[in-house]
Structure formats: C-alpha cells, structure tokens
C-alpha cells in the first residue's frame, strides 16, 4: 500500500476534512493507485531543470496605492451563513 489509512487521516486533518469512515478505505486505495502512477515521474531526469509555476512569463502586477471603490459591507456579508452587526459570526475561539 502506497499510502496507509493513518496517513490519509493525517492529511485529511491537515486539510480540515473529517472523512467518512466508510470512505477512508476507498480513498486510501484510490489515492495509493494514483500515487503509484505519479511515481513514474521518478524515471524522468530533471537534474538542473528549473521548476515552472506559471507557463507564461509574468511580472509583479504593481499599481499605485490609490483608494478605490470596493463592494460595500452588506454585499460582502450577503452570503454569510451567520452574521450580526456588520460582522461574520464564528464559533468561540478564546475561552475566558
């Protein structure tokens, strides 16, 4: 097995996923098969090859630091699952 159930659980936790118990075995098998296939990349000689993150030559897109109109608070909150007084509501993170 290329990836164990425990590793899948560990990575799922890093990605903030609580994968269904039934799915874990299936995922470990499928992801293992994909990773075995991905290992064929090892046969490619990449000594000294520069990695590419973007296929097009890009430069930083700078602009003047000017104030511009952006969407208003109500629009920004319009899709919030829970909101109050112009704020997003999140579960309590600090215990007093």
């Amino acid at each position: 097995m290329k990836i164990t159930k425990q590793e899948v659980l560990h990575v799922a936790n890093l990605a903030r996923l609580d994968v269904d118990k039934v799915l874990i075995d299936k995922f470990a098998g499928q992801i293992g098969t994909i990773l075995e296939y991905v290992d064929t990349l090892k046969s490619v000689d990449t000594q000294g090859v520069t990695p590419t993150s973007h296929a097009i030559f890009l430069t930083n897109a700078f602009r003047e630091d000017e104030e511009k109109q952006s969407i208003d608070c109500n629009s920004a909150l319009s899709n919030a699952p829970e909101k109050e007084d112009g704020n997003f509501i999140v579960p309590k993170v600090i215990n007093s």
């Binding site: 990836i3 590793e7 899948v8 990575v11 799922a12 936790n13 890093l14 990605a15 903030r16 996923l17 609580d18 994968v19 269904d20 799915l23 995922f27 499928q30 992801i31 098969t33 994909i34 990773l35 296939y37 991905v38 064929t40 990349l41 090892k42 490619v44 990449t46 090859v49 520069t50 990695p51 590419t52 993150s53 973007h54 296929a55 097009i56 890009l58 930083n60 897109a61 602009r63 969407i71 629009s75 920004a76 319009s78 899709n79 919030a80 699952p81 829970e82 997003f88 999140v90 579960p91 309590k92 993170v93």
Partner: protein, 486 residues
C-alpha cells in the same frame, strides 16, 4: 426556421436586419430548454425573468441602431463564473446557495455587449472531472446518446450548445474541460492562451492552469466570442497586457504556407480508439489537401504529462479550496460548537468525494517530506513539457491531435476508477501545463454515431492560427451541421 438552432453569426445578422427580435430568440431558446432539459440536464439554473428583461433592453438598443456582435444573443455560462444576483453553485453543496455580489469580468463583458444570460450550465463539482458525473446537483446526458456522458467538466455548456438550448456558451478549461466536452458533444470549444482571458470572478480550481473560453456551434462563432472576452484586466494579476487581434480576420480560405505538426508519440498512445484514430487521420489528410504542409514532431515527455498534472492541479486546488470554511459564504454546519469541528464538518459535508480525494492528494503532495518528491518534481517535468512544445513549434505552426482517446463513454462506466478517468486527459492537459491555446473542432463520427473532435494547438497567443486552420477544415466538411435527434 427554428430560432434556437441559429448560430451567433446568423442570429446577429437577423437581429441587425430586424427580421427577428431578441425577445423572440430568447423565448425560442427558453421553449427549447423547456422541451429537452429533462432529457439533457444541461442547466443548474435557468434565468427566465432576467433573460427576458435583458432581451427587452437589447431590442430597445437595436431599435436605436446600437447593435454589437453579441447584442441580444442568449448565452449559457458555466456555473463557476460569478453572475451578480444569479446563483453560482460550482455544482457543489458547499456553494449551493451562493449568490455573487459581483460579475466575473467575462460576464461583465458579455453584459456590456448586451448579451442575454440565459442560464448557468452544469459541470463537475469545482470543475474536477471529465464526465459531469461529479456534479453534486444533477447528471448531464450527452445529446447524441442520452446513456452517455457529455464530457467534462464543462459538460453542461457543451450539451447546451449541441442541443440548441443556447446560442453559445462559456466554459473553463484546466486540463481539457472545454475541449473534451466539445469533442464529445460535436461542437467547437477553445481554450485560449493562459492570461488571454481574465479569470477575475472565475471560481478557482488550479490557478496556474485555469482558463475561460467559448463553446459554440461553429468556428465563426468561436472567433466572435473570443473578440469579446479576450484582453487585459487589471483585476486579474495573471492576465497578460498583450494586444488582441480581431479573431474574425482569421476566418479566411487559405492554408497555403501553413505547416501542421503531428506528434509521433500521440499515435501510439494507449487506449486510442480506432474510430478516433481514423477520423483524426482523415482530418490531417484533409488539411494537407487544403494546402498545408505536414511534418512529424516529437513531444518526448507526453507520457509524463498526466502524472505531472495530477500532482500540480490537486496541489493548487487544495490551497484554493481552503477558503471554503463555513464563515464568509456557502454552507456551514451550524451544529458544531468548536471552530475546528465546524471547519471539518462543513467541508466534509459540503464537498463531494472527488473534490475531497483531490484535496487530500494535493495536501499530501505539498506536505512536509513529500514536497520535493511530488510537487517539486512535477514542476520540473512541467518545464520539460513546455520545452518540448517550444522545440516542436520551431518546425510547425500548429499541432494536430485527437482530443480524447475515445468517444463519449457510458454514464457510470468509470466513476469508481479515478486513475483511468484521469488517463483519458492525455491529449488535452499538456496544453494547460504549457499555457498554450487549443481548440476542438468536429472531425467525424464513430461507427455508433458519436461525435469525434480534432484538437489543434498553437504557440502562446497564436489563437488566430487555430481559428484559421479550424475554419478552413470546418468549411470543407459538414460535421458541424449535423444535429443530435432529441
């Protein structure tokens, strides 16, 4: 005359000559949707009221003599481009109720032209898939054979064009998601050069690979839509400030002096269907017959493209999809008391299995101890693939190949075998890794009547050559005139 069957060009001419109104055209398309949507399932939502209101405004503009190429034309939009005030779900439970407060740049451009947004097309969830079977909302069926997939991930956009449920549409392509469904549904689909079309307001899957493009009934329409959506946008920092030619100027009848390249690695690709192989071979001969020269080219790293892609795309996706945390928009599991429990439950309930599989794969590839072996290595192989294309384009103007190794497969056939499904992207995803443009144009039918597409690829910003070759080929064949029986 069935108005819903019109191309953009013909509809534009009739609107201009006041032979028809946009309201008549829009009504005809809505009636067509009502008649066949149950069979095809191309749409996640149909914007009946706003579409008719936009048509009315278009008619008023036309009556005052103000008509642009897309004024009054009903267009379908893949449901991952933000449409102000219209549901944009990405075919995911996690965005099931998301109503964007702004328009994507491409949508804004269509609206500026006075186009009619007829509805939002179905897709694989977050554009992850080649069959539309990963939509969390509904299944889309291939209009040519309802037991088969339309292709993906822009399957709804392709099926809607093929079934005349819109006049043209927009899709997005991260590894073949415009070209492959266009091929399977017998329509024209173009993935432009990375950076040619603004991605602002496109829900991100893999940011270095994603590109928006048109799906249309013919090559002329493709050129007309490209003219509208292309160009620099300061809201997208990867958009390229390069001049945009008039793409319709490439709709000319001459291929003399043009050289087409045939990659030797492609003919030996595993699992290439004999009908596809034959149709593409015939297309190459046809194009040579039209005056183009032909050379063999080599793309030696082709066999590694799928492996590199399925490291890079999921890695970028795992990072992009971190934003769905149940706080700012979308679904939230409100029963969880702690922040961590809320995140995990929201994401696990909100994302479907394919999306979760890719997030895990991407997170693994980027995690400590694996980064160099997976993401680092794949990014180096990506460089080699780009160099392959650079070398190949030294001896030819465009490269010809199949789009998909087989015609559309049966619904359910591959759904539990992700690797086999991924391998079917072999001919398309290199273009995304290299950032080059590609088009799919109908080039034949299989023995059981399923459409087959020819892929044409060119250098960065050489979309004009694609249009020229595709147009000449199309004009010498009648595959694009065939319609599915529904």
């Amino acid at each position: 005359m069935n108005l819903h069957e019109l191309t953009i060009k013909k509809a534009h001419t009739l609107l201009k000559e006041k032979e028809i109104s946009s309201q008549e055209l829009t009504r005809a398309v809505l009636d067509r949707i009502d008649a066949v949507e149950e069979k095809v399932g191309a749409y996640i939502s149909v914007a009946r009221e706003t579409a008719m209101a936009q048509a009315k405004i278009a008619d008023k503009a036309i009556s005052q003599g103000n008509i642009l190429p897309l004024t009054g034309i009903p267009m379908a939009i893949k449901d991952l481009m933000c449409t102000k005030g219209l549901l944009t779900t990405c075919a995911s439970r996690i965005l099931e109720n998301f109503v964007p407060p702004y328009d994507a740049t491409v949508v804004k451009k269509l609206k500026t032209q006075g186009a009619v947004i007829i509805g939002k097309a179905n897709m694989d969830e977050f554009a992850m898939g080649s069959s539309n079977e990963h939509s969390a909302i509904k299944l889309t069926h291939n209009p040519w054979d309802l037991t088969r997939i339309p292709g993906g991930s822009s399957g709804g956009s392709a099926a809607a064009v093929a079934a005349d449920m819109c006049i043209g549409s927009l899709g997005s392509d991260t590894g073949g998601s415009i070209r492959q469904p266009a091929s399977h549904c017998g329509v024209v689909g173009m993935k432009p050069t990375y950076g040619r079309v603004s991605r602002f307001g496109l829900v991100a899957f893999a940011s270095s690979l994603d590109q928006i493009g048109p799906l249309t009934k013919d090559v002329t329409d493709c050129a007309m839509v490209m003219n509208v959506i292309s160009g620099y946008d300061s809201a997208d920092s990867t958009s390229v400030p390069e001049d945009v030619p008039d793409y319709t100027s490439f709709l000319e009848d001459d291929l003399r002096g043009m050289v087409v390249g045939i990659p030797k690695q492609y003919s030996s690709a595993k699992g290439l269907d004999p009908d596809v192989s034959e149709a593409v071979k015939n297309a190459v001969e046809k194009i040579q017959g039209l005056g183009a020269g032909c050379v063999e080219v080599s793309l030696p790293h082709t066999e590694h493209a799928v492996a590199a892609y399925y490291v890079i795309a999921p890695s970028e996706a795992s990072s992009n999809l971190a934003r769905y945390d149940g706080v700012k928009y979308g679904y939230r599991d409100k029963n969880k008391k702690s922040l961590m429990e809320m995140y995990k439950s929201t994401r696990s309930r909100g994302f479907g299995p394919e999306v979760q599989r890719r997030i895990i794969l991407g997170t693994y590839s980027l995690s400590a101890g694996y980064y160099d072996a997976y993401y680092g290595k794949a990014s180096q192989v990506r460089t080699l693939i780009i160099e392959d294309f650079k070398k190949a384009f030294e001896s030819c103007d465009v490269i010809l190949s199949p789009v998909a190794p087989t015609p559309a497969f049966k619904i359910g056939e591959m759904v539990d075998d992700p690797l086999t499904m991924y391998l079917s992207d072999i001919f398309t995803l290199s273009a995304n890794l290299a950032g080059i443009p590609g088009i799919s144009v109908p080039c034949g039918f299989s023995s059981n009547g399923l459409p087959i597409g020819l892929q044409i690829m060119a250098k960065h910003f050489d979309e004009g050559k694609l249009i020229k070759v595709a147009y000449n080929f199309e004009q010498s064949t009648d595959f694009h005139k065939k319609k599915p029986k529904l």
